[in-house]
Symmetry: D2
């Protein structure tokens, strides 16, 4: 029988905030959640207006109030999505975790390392789940890439090249989306390296299964008067001997959202681009390149299991995001039933969030130290 929908609250995401709308669609897409409460803005009037526009049953002025009140209600929220600027993540998430409400939180984890540690403690101490929306891990062919590497299809890994290239900060930072992302107080010590570099790093780890040993970084802020990096070059040394490069940029004209991952082993290679997310190049060394597709010929179980429609019917960003939400739903449902979280779920956790924060911090340290090798 169908599970009852999960009652969801939201912190942030009012008005035309990009990522709030994304979370709402992602929650809705597979039918596992109902959005019933929110504090959609830190400005109470805006919060109320946004809640009304969305037809939300319950609107609050502060997340503390929402956490407290919802925890006390019989029909209170089961989970909350946190989609504020980074500096609010920790305090908001802790308020819910402490009351046993599951948290689905946008990335990067927090704006400071201290906040990250504090949040991690709270998450570990709580019986509730903490899910970090590194949404790119939700793409079916990314799941296949991970499975293929785990099964040894590439042999022993040697190289990981990951890049995440955008152009929207080429000129001055304008608009609400841009403003807080270039403000150290709200964003944290990393600019592009925090905003998108963490996605790139997380994806590389997720697919390869490797752990980073050391990095050497060169961060730049090309935009006039910009305090945070808008471009980062990083050399990578993975445990076990693989090497790599990571490039993230928000000042490269002609790139909308060009996240690309390439992984090479002694037996084969993989190449994936987020802007063509339904296919994956696979080359067994010495053989012709093969274009694997989402839910098409050559799809593995991990690919098929996260696909909604047949190959050739493109799924995209929202579907990948929804997969994170739907995996969270499976975990929440399992917990409801008193069962352990299913082992096949791959949503990112608090540990991935911490790992990303350490990565950003190490990049900042290395860059400040003339690109010396740093351990994250």
């Amino acid at each position: 029988m169908a599970e009852a929908p999960i009652r969801l609250g939201m912190v942030g995401g009012g008005g035309d905030a990009f990522i709030g709308g994304v979370h709402r669609i992602a929650a809705r897409l597979d039918g596992h959640y109902t959005l019933v409460a929110g504090v959609l803005s830190s400005t109470p009037e805006k919060a109320r207006a946004s809640a009304e526009a969305l037809g939300l049953p319950r609107s609050y002025d502060t997340y503390e109030d929402m956490a407290r009140t919802e925890a006390d209600r019989e029909d209170g929220i089961d989970a909350v999505a946190i989609v504020t600027p980074n500096h609010v993540h920790a305090a908001a998430a802790i308020a819910f975790l402490e009351r046993g409400i599951h948290v689905i939180c946008d990335k990067p984890l927090t704006s400071t390392m201290e906040d990250a540690e504090r949040l991690a403690e709270a998450a570990r101490a709580s019986g509730a789940l903490f899910v970090l929306t590194h949404n790119y891990t939700g793409y079916p062919v990314i799941r296949q890439a991970r499975q293929m590497i785990a099964e040894g299809k590439l042999g022993s890994l040697r190289l990981i090249n990951v890049e995440y290239v955008q152009d929207w900060l080429t000129g001055a930072a304008e608009g609400k989306q841009a403003e807080w992302r270039v403000d150290p107080a709200r964003s944290g010590a990393g600019g592009s390296i925090g905003d998108i570099g963490t996605h790139a790093y997380n994806l590389a780890c997720f697919v390869s299964g490797l752990t980073l040993d050391r990095l050497a970084a060169d961060l730049d802020a090309f935009g006039a008067g910009r305090e945070l990096d808008d471009n980062a070059h990083v050399m990578l040394r993975w445990q076990g001997g693989a090497k790599g490069m990571l490039w993230c940029s928000q000042v490269a004209p002609g790139n909308e959202n060009a996240l690309r991952l390439r992984v090479y082993g002694d037996r084969g290679g993989l190449d994936w681009s987020q802007e063509e997310p339904n296919s994956l190049w696979f080359t067994p060394f010495g053989e012709p390149k093969r274009l694997l597709t989402r839910n098409g010929a050559g799809a593995t179980e991990a690919n098929t299991a996260t696909s909604r429609v047949p190959g050739g019917h493109p799924e995209g960003y929202l579907e990948a995001f929804a997969t994170i939400y739907s995996e969270a739903a499976r975990a929440i449902h399992a917990q409801r039933r008193g069962e352990p979280v299913p082992e096949d779920l791959l949503y990112p956790t608090i540990e991935d969030g911490l790992d990303g924060m350490r990565f950003v911090a190490a990049c900042v340290r290395s860059s400040a130290n003339d690109s010396a090798w740093e351990t994250p």
Copy 2:
């Protein structure tokens, strides 16, 4: 304030039927519908089991029963999605239209021309809306293509080349999806020409704004023992002097769902492929090719208005499908308020459905008549 969700019923779409699941996600994605009732299969036990699996409040054994009962309820369905094999469309749709329940119906319209005419009469007579899910018209860059042509960016149109190529019938037809599609009794006189050729034809008309004058067709059934065409070659003559070709196939190995539209005028050309649905090639004659993107640089209002996320964050098949549903929702909401259907809505109607049926019939006639030119 947010509009109250539209109560939706569904006929067909039980078990693992591909298109039923698509309609449910499309209805859910933008949050305008709640699925509350259904007769998900023509086999009552299956219908009930499917309804239970989906958590549907009300399950019926027949669409007649559902139409009657829901029409009588205070909280009965506002609209119904019809996702059965083609031969059921007409009778089911009429049952709801006659009771003032809006119909969202999968394509092609019906299995016979007689059914199509009957349904068209019912739709015209009804105060309820009839929406046909030629979903490919929902892609944002397709909307931009239509707008650009209407604005004269290509000059006077000369050529339209449209193809829709798949490979899943290369071997024997297996499984539920395949079976009814190759059965004249359930599918109608057209095989691939009805199943996907109508999509291609509809898309060409939608984007170009042209009306077909005559066609010459050559239909084949390559699959062993297959009664209906699995490949169709069609030459097109449009009113006003433009020419074109349409090719649809389900026996071309290496093609998953390769719908492609090219339109050329005396001032420029457009080229779009469904499997890369977030971009559109535009060449003003004598200038370099430009790659326009969904909600990216160069996006027109029609493109932006149907986009959910920024460029570089791929939207896909389900989002385009959802756009049809959401446009239907806007029409339904307008009707609720006693207002006329907004003029900017572009969802396909009963007339598009009839047009598609005439196209299929003309192709079948032409092919039977040694590819003589036929008027649809």
Copy 3:
């Protein structure tokens, strides 16, 4: 030991004529020819000036004079390249063939069917070779495509879709290249169908090994005041049951020289585009698509044998053209040694030229007869 170079003459190709320069590079590229004589223009002064500019030892005013004089010289030309407008091909070629001088002739064969028959007779009667430069058959991966089909890799062929799309006649025909191509007196009864349609048709035959049974064509002249077709739509029925479509156009903005061939059988499919000539898509039905490359992994003997450099080092149009010249050289060298022409040579012959002429004539007839099916 190295063979002595073949002494080559040229008729046409003076000034900045596009195709004359191409033939000269093609002759030179693999080192088998030395250009020693020519009548590079029908205007004697231009012929002399062009010969001088190219450093040609011997320049003539007429091809008759060149044929006679060179045939008498001890060190006269072994072969002649004919690169004039179409209406000159027959008379010029016959003049050389009758004197035992090998002819390498540009396509289409001639401007009229009568000329074609006359030339064919002369070619069959002559001991000299006749080579037609359908240069696209010289691409290494096209050779592989032919080999794969011959070896049954696609199974039984069902579909051939070939298109050759350009845009340079979108506006008025300007310049020397354009002028004679739109003039029936110099070009023949076919416009685009003769200029590029013959290439497309030849390529389809070359790769598939099939023989055309019937065709139905719809030809148009969109350019203002244009007498010859600048666009052609053709439906194809091949002997043995395969079907197909051919589209050629010179009025499709955004297409430079977009020749594309797709072939599908019951076991697999091939897809090739001339503008990316170093790769070939191959899909065994039910398996992932594979990108075969020129002289790369998966290359067959036919591919490797016509490649000059390793995969990833793009070869192009001139190299493919040179392959036709170099195969002609191997035939000429064999004849010199009194040996038969090697069996592995695949350059197009007088029969291919005649076949192309019949194809054009049938297209023109069919189009004039309301697209009735015609036998070429």
Copy 4:
């Protein structure tokens, strides 16, 4: 009037050596050279057999002998192509330069820095020309990229990302091509960084017009028992503030010869891939991406001037290589006439060669010094 062909000798390039054959075609393609002498192998019998197979008039056992003898002949060679393994370049080139014979030399310049300095002295002292075949600078759209940047189309440069990725050393190094390239005695201190990294570096400098300030490198030899690097990660700091990354690899399965250059300024970006060498992506910031083509719409003078055939007729690796040869020919012809070398010639010189050697040396130093920033 046509210039008399340049008499060319060759050192190295016997048997089936890849690069020797390339130089011969490149020299022949535009008709400026005649190959008349050579010492095609260091093994005299092989040298003679190769010369005979190629129909070379004069074969020598040593380059010293060839240099001396040809310099004394009335009809001796004007220029020599040096295509040996790297460790022979310096001594051979000097032997010819000292006798006033022009040298066209393969890259990298030499195997040691000392040799490079010695050769540079000889080149500067000689009246003869020294041309280094960084052939990728010969591509027409690369010429356009250089011109656009010089004209400010990208604004102030911020980022250069260049990569040159191959896979042929993924397994063990086998065959003649591989052997000397992995041998420090014959190749020099750099493996992949010398073999292909120098191409990538040279291309970045050529197109951007920038001068490298510092670099930080991480070199690896993944192949079992390999002494020289087969993968290199390099971070770049250019004079004036631009940054960049360079990646070269010969162990990345699925990459044949994937040289790619991306350059970004504050007004636009360029993106070029060697395996699709006839096109160039250009994005003026805030506008749609444009696909510029070789000799097509939007081609600048620098593009057109180095093109042989119209857009859509792909030129490739050999043509780009031939452009270097043909520019050298124009310089040689100018010198013959007592004129200065034309200012528009862009072939790489001894200074480019020295620059490349310093780059390799700095990479090796940096990598040995834990990736510390080094000045080349």
